[in-house]
């Protein structure tokens, strides 16, 4: 049985089905909404940015769940909401048995040991005045991990496990390269022995050779520590390499979700197909200009979400029904869900 919760008949699983959670599900997000109110002008109406607008997914323990999408799709906001770094407007976030979506204050802080984050920019996420070793030690102290006397040794151990050298513990962030900094950030995230690590574009600031090193490191650490990753990326190639299960987001909603190979070998949603064909490819056969879906324009602003299917404005296959009714996520094959009215017509049976 797959871990993805979105396999209940008729689309999104209703809340009452949530109790039937599989025991190996670590993270369960249900109907998550994050809306940012914008102050309207003196006479203007109040406007709301619906950055995340009803997102549900399950992440199996020890697996990697990828969320892909373009800027403005809400993928990073979803990550921040799971991390409790933005205010959740509606919905639930459950980590194991604990509902973390509504925790506050000290209770939330204590629970944070269990979920940690790696951000995109390794230059901005380390304090320039703190030595690398101290950055990790601080996390251990803050989270009260183990005996305080044993913490320096633990920091050193974490440092080594991310492929850094012990003599580098005394160095400052500016003495490290981008890839090395991201290793420090990863070591710091692992200090609290988290179950879930949320990674928001952790390799997109890195050169391709360094990116490969970092991805390999993340996979090794996942095996060693039994980590679960929620992996946010715009890079389909990286997601394809790393993730077991992938959700594609567009304008605050998941439009397609499937296990990795199902999604990449047989993408169903026109947006997924467009994304996939837009990615530069080495393969000359995939490059014949013509069989690709080329999108016009930019992703629309989450300020004015169109009625009907959110993708209809850029979709080459949109018909009237797409502009009127918003399609629900529905199952198409084993643990493959897609939100498109015309998916049957558009995809030939395999």
């Amino acid at each position: 049985m797959s871990s993805t919760g979105i396999e209940a008949p008729g689309g999104l699983p209703p809340a009452e089905q949530a109790d039937a959670q599989a025991p190996d599900t670590l993270l369960r997000v249900r109907d998550l909404k994050v809306h940012f109110p914008l102050g309207g002008g003196l006479f203007g109406p109040k406007r709301v940015v619906k950055a995340v607008d009803g997102v549900s997914f399950d992440v199996k323990r020890g697996s990697t769940f990828g969320i892909v999408g373009e800027s403005g799709s809400g993928k990073s906001t979803t990550a921040l909401a799971v991390m409790r770094l933005v205010k959740i407007t509606a919905g639930t976030v459950r980590l194991g048995e604990a509902e973390i979506g509504h925790l506050e204050g000290e209770a939330l802080r204590r629970e944070r040991r269990r979920f940690q984050m790696v951000f995109q920019d390794p230059y901005a996420s380390l304090n320039p005045r703190k030595r690398a070793g101290d950055a990790i030690l601080d996390a251990l102290n803050l989270m009260n991990v183990g005996e305080s006397a044993a913490r320096p040794a633990r920091a050193r151990e974490l440092f080594l496990s991310t492929g850094l050298r012990p003599e580098q513990l005394q160095l400052f962030p500016h003495q490290f390269s981008g890839g090395q900094r991201q290793r420090i950030v990863l070591a710091r995230a692992l200090a609290a022995q988290p179950e879930l690590v949320v990674c928001d574009e952790p390799v997109s600031a890195l050169d391709v050779a360094i990116q490969a090193q970092m991805l390999n490191l993340m996979m090794r650490l996942q095996r060693e520590f039994g980590l679960t990753y929620l992996f946010i990326s715009h890079d389909l190639a990286v997601v394809r390499h790393l993730c077991d299960e992938v959700a594609v987001m567009y304008l605050g909603r998941i439009v397609e979700q499937a296990p990795r190979e199902a999604l990449f070998s047989r993408p169903l949603h026109p947006y997924t197909r467009a994304l996939w064909s837009a990615a530069p490819s080495f393969d000359p056969a995939a490059r014949t200009r013509g069989d690709r879906i080329r999108l016009q324009g930019d992703p629309p602003s989450p300020l004015n979400i169109p009625p009907g299917c959110r993708f209809a404005g850029r979709c080459p296959f949109a018909v009237d029904v797409c502009r009127q009714t918003e399609p629900a996520l529905r199952p198409m094959g084993v643990s493959h869900t897609v939100a498109c009215h015309r998916v049957e017509e558009l995809t030939q049976p395999a």
Partner: protein
């Protein structure tokens, strides 16, 4: 004859232009065989507090008329400095072009007086950069900024120049160009801004467009649009393109030839298909292999990686600069810099492994 000389011979479709910018449909055959741009032995140093860094070391390249050359490599390998050096945009000091020549359409740009160079920049050679917002002036309308270049280089009236701006915006696929020409950069999205940059760069019909990571700041669907646009414009206008990128996939999509750089040196160059299909330099091989998602791998299978990081340019040893990261390193690699080996008329590689009887 250097292997780069051969590439121009198959390029005939672009119309050469004279220095004053008018079209010159016929030129003597000798001139047509020369590549549009031929850089030989370009060497650039930067003085820093910790010593002199040789950022470019004996870089040679050629771009034929109407061709697209991809320049790839990691950050700090000298791709952008190459572009800046041949546009003579390196700040002196701290930078200095130590040696080399940049032959562009029969003249050495490095010998031109500054006034002559100004007539080349933005007119015969244009450049677009990674971040379109920082390359546009927020205080002027996009129309003013495009028209300025046209007025300066072609001496047309403002009215004509604005009309050209509208036509260029139309050509790069901006809807309602006659209205948008009066708008400011902040009123455009990232992809649209990059289109404006391209419109501006192509307004004077340059012979060469240098695009330095033009899509890195953009979403993948928008990147595809920009690549299609550059591709179409190249077909229509015969403008040669030098595409600087870190993405081998982009090279595969866009380019005829590719130049792989490492630590300020050219390590391999040749036609894209040949290099992607049969990379000879261990670094090129690593760059291609470590890109994720190219093939379906079993779950948990690690990517091939290039161990280590780029060496410091301050301490160039005598040997091959890639030696410390190379899986096939030989004793000789550390002692002596490898020569440039011509594999055929089209390809060359800088590696001891390709030298017969060496290693």
């Amino acid at each position: 004859m250097s292997p780069t000389d051969a590439i121009a011979s198959d390029v005939t479709h672009a119309t050469p232009r004279q220095a004053d910018g008018t079209a010159a449909p016929s030129r003597d055959a000798q001139q047509a065989e020369k590549p549009l741009l031929q850089v030989e032995g370009l060497t650039v140093e930067f003085r820093t507090r910790r010593g002199t860094a040789r950022v470019l070391d004996d870089v040679s390249l050629a771009v034929g008329r109407g061709q697209t050359l991809g320049v790839v490599g990691e950050s700090g390998c000298g791709k952008s400095v190459t572009a800046l050096a041949l546009m003579r945009l390196i700040a002196e000091p701290p930078g200095r072009i130590v040696a080399g020549s940049v032959m562009f359409d029969g003249r050495d740009l490095l010998q031109l007086p500054e006034a002559g160079m100004r007539r080349v920049r933005g007119n015969r050679i244009s450049m677009i950069f990674q971040e379109p917002m920082t390359s546009l002036n927020p205080a002027y309308t996009v129309g003013d900024q495009i028209a300025e270049a046209v007025q300066l280089h072609e001496g047309t009236s403002r009215r004509e120049a604005l009309a050209r701006a509208v036509a260029m915006l139309q050509a790069v696929g901006i809807p309602a160009p006659s209205q948008r020409v009066h708008e400011y950069p902040h009123q455009f999205s990232g992809g649209m801004r990059q289109r404006v940059m391209i419109a501006m760069a192509l307004a004077c019909k340059p012979d060469l467009l240098i695009a330095d990571e033009p899509t890195t700041a953009l979403d993948v669907t928008v990147q595809a649009q920009i690549f299609d646009l550059i591709h179409d414009l190249r077909e229509r206008t015969g403008t040669a393109v030098m595409l600087i990128t870190h993405d081998m996939g982009a090279v595969a999509e866009m380019c005829d030839r590719v130049l792989v750089m490492y630590a300020g040196r050219v390590v391999e160059t040749g036609p894209v298909a040949a290099i992607l299909g049969d990379p000879r330099h261990p670094y090129t091989r690593g760059l291609i292999a470590c890109a994720p998602g190219r093939r379906i791998v079993a779950p948990g299978q690690p990517l091939e990686e290039i161990a280590g990081t780029v060496p410091s340019l301050l301490e160039r040893g005598s040997g091959c600069l890639f030696a410390d990261r190379c899986t096939q390193v030989q004793p000789r690699c550390r002692a002596e810099a490898p020569p440039t080996v011509a594999l055929d008329a089209q390809r060359s590689v800088q590696c001891w492994l390709q030298v017969e009887g060496a290693a």
